[in-house]
């Protein structure tokens, strides 16, 4: 195999991985932004958009970098708006509907608790551009862990109703967490190139973050005999099509227009 082909394979692997991470951030940020103006209290009408802004901001940095690597003239918006559902490779967890405040905070916490050690690894990794993105993202996501985590404790140890809703969210969303730790061929190549760290230590940190918080929140981690996966292969849940219909509406209704 020629050297250029090898390089291309590595670039493709990197691009694919970056798009996966970007898709996770865009879709979770989009879901969170659905709350804006409808939160349980005014303070949360400020906090949730704040976190959504962090996530969408991170997705923009990642899509832009993917566009540079791909070098075909696509932009951040082409990635965000002009792909079909099968081309989005976000994990299923982030696309799950908001349902209620308990589900929303838990989704946020599961994801942030995963991204924090992942960003820490990237920040020490071999890719300079990603190191820059990770340095900022790591701090932001650290806040998401605290904010969502504090709510999970309040709800888990609040009233009978809130405890019941919090545990119901855990039962519903926990089966989607396994997909966070799947390593496809592209991620494997990134790990080998020291762009990403091994997934095992990330999983160990995540397990302990979740375990410690759940203890404080009086929540029980359920057994998951049948984990839900598919997003990384572009196989999404039914609600995802509606999410894309909203997200892409303007770009689809007015093709080629600039905004």
């Amino acid at each position: 195999m020629a050297v250029t082909e090898l390089k291309d394979t590595a670039t493709d692997a990197l691009t694919n991985t970056i798009i996966q991470i970007a898709d996770d951030h865009l879709i979770l940020g989009h879901r969170l932004s659905e709350w804006c103006g409808h939160a349980p209290m005014l303070e949360e009408d400020l906090s949730m958009p704040n976190m959504a802004l962090d996530l969408i901001g991170q997705s923009r940095a990642l899509y832009s970098y993917a566009a540079t690597l791909e070098n075909t003239g696509r932009t951040e918006d082409d990635f965000a708006y002009l792909r079909t559902d099968r081309e989005y490779t976000n994990c299923l967890l982030v696309e799950r509907p908001n349902t209620d405040f308990a589900h929303t905070m838990l989704k946020q916490f599961y994801f942030a608790a995963f991204m924090h050690p992942l960003w820490q690894g990237i920040a020490k990794g071999s890719n300079e551009t990603l190191r820059g993105i990770a340095a900022k993202a790591e701090k932001e996501i650290g806040y998401h862990i605290r904010h969502a985590g504090e709510w999970i404790v309040r709800l888990g140890d609040g009233t009978e109703e809130s405890a019941m809703r919090m545990q119901a969210a855990v039962e519903e969303l926990h089966p989607y967490t396994g997909e966070l730790f799947t390593v496809d061929e592209s991620r494997q190549q990134c790990i080998e190139a020291n762009v990403l760290t091994n997934i095992d230590p990330v999983k160990t940190v995540w397990d302990s973050t979740v375990h410690n918080l759940f203890e404080q929140a009086k929540l029980i981690i359920p057994e998951v005999p049948y984990p839900q996966t598919g997003g990384r292969q572009g196989q999404h849940t039914e609600g995802f099509g509606f999410l894309l219909a909203e997200l892409q509406y303007m770009q689809r209704a007015y093709p080629g227009a600039s905004w």
């Binding site: 349980p40 958009p49 802004l53 997705s59 109703e161």
Partner: protein, 328 residues
């Protein structure tokens, strides 16, 4: 919009003439009135009403723009809109806090909004069917709000005046952002140009209504001006807004939906200004009284958020109580 806050304000007081004179002297000396200072009952009531309505306007105002967050056409626009709507929520928070210094709670004010006893700006009872409405709101609605609010930075009540300084800085950024959005549409394709003009057609008159009834019909302006709660009359502010905005529309190739709009050199003491057509006051009062296209939907959306959030607020209180009893 916030001058609408004076509609129905109580202006009768029972304080002695001596007390009222002393208060008026402080106002005339441009002293700021602070939360613990003695103040006439009607001054307090007027401010509670006005600041409360301003706060509610910020909160209800999140809805028409929030309507487009999930459909914004680019990531850049999406984050700008999200940040803007978040700013409005922030304004609501400072304003509720400013009103709380007058002895009313945020919960009480929220209940009044949801039950329909407290009002908010009538502008937010118009719908946002297209993306261009986001530009029109930033440009016109925030533009009109700034005209009203810049003089409020000198309002005699200290906490309100200080809150307004920060609010005005952010609103002026929103206004420029909205205008830039409209401008980009007018530089786009025919669909985009048409969308921009259509939005201007729908928002222009309601924006003029934001300044409240005309001076001849406004019952409470005099006392509020005397107490330096307000510094300009509704019609003065409306005129300033028209004069500032008409050239902005021309600059981006949009036409104001008012055939009577003409330059009049004799206006504004010879500096010139625009004569404009008659505002449809029937429409204004219809919307103020709760019969605009979106009045019921807006309150329904706020009530839904409040009711569905109750278990969360209850849980936070219950958790805090448990922590306190552990600490005790």
């Amino acid at each position: 919009m916030y001058s609408q806050g004076l509609i129905g304000a109580e202006t009768e007081t029972e304080e002695t003439a001596e007390f009222l004179d002393a208060f008026q002297s402080r106002i005339d000396a441009e002293e700021k009135i602070e939360p613990n200072d003695p103040m006439p009952h009607a001054y307090r009531k007027t401010l509670i009403r006005m600041i409360g309505q301003h706060a509610h306007s910020e909160i209800v105002g999140m809805l028409p723009e929030g309507n487009w967050i999930t459909r914004a056409p680019s990531l850049r626009r999406k984050v700008a809109l999200l940040a803007k709507v978040q700013d409005e929520g922030g304004h609501g928070l400072y304003l509720y806090s400013a009103a709380e210094t007058l002895g009313v709670s945020r919960e009480q004010m929220t209940e009044e909004l949801l039950s329909g006893t407290a009002k908010y700006s009538s502008i937010f009872n118009y719908p946002t069917p297209t993306w261009a409405d986001i530009g029109a709101i930033g440009w016109l609605v925030d533009g009109a709000a700034i005209m009203n609010q810049v003089p409020l930075c000198r309002c005699s009540y200290g906490p309100y005046a200080r809150a307004m300084i920060r609010v005005c800085k952010e609103e002026s950024f929103h206004q420029r952002q909205g205008y830039e959005l409209m401008k980009s549409l007018t530089e786009g394709n025919e669909d985009q140009k048409a969308m921009a003009q259509d939005a201007l057609n729908r928002w222009w008159w309601p924006s003029l209504m934001m300044f409240g009834p005309s001076d001849t019909a406004s019952q409470h302006s005099d006392q509020s001006m005397k107490w330096k709660i307000k510094r300009f009359t509704n019609d003065e502010l409306r005129q300033k807004f028209v004069d500032a905005t008409v050239p902005q529309a021309a600059l981006i190739g949009l036409t104001m939906p008012d055939p009577d709009l003409t330059w009049n050199q004799g206006k504004n003491n010879g500096d010139g200004g625009y004569d404009f057509g008659e505002i449809d006051w029937d429409e204004f009062w219809r919307v103020v009284k709760g019969h605009g296209m979106m009045n019921k939907d807006r309150i329904k959306a706020r009530k839904k958020a409040w009711d569905e959030g109750k278990w969360v607020r209850d849980a936070a209180l219950a958790y805090a109580a448990k922590q306190n009893s552990k600490a005790a």
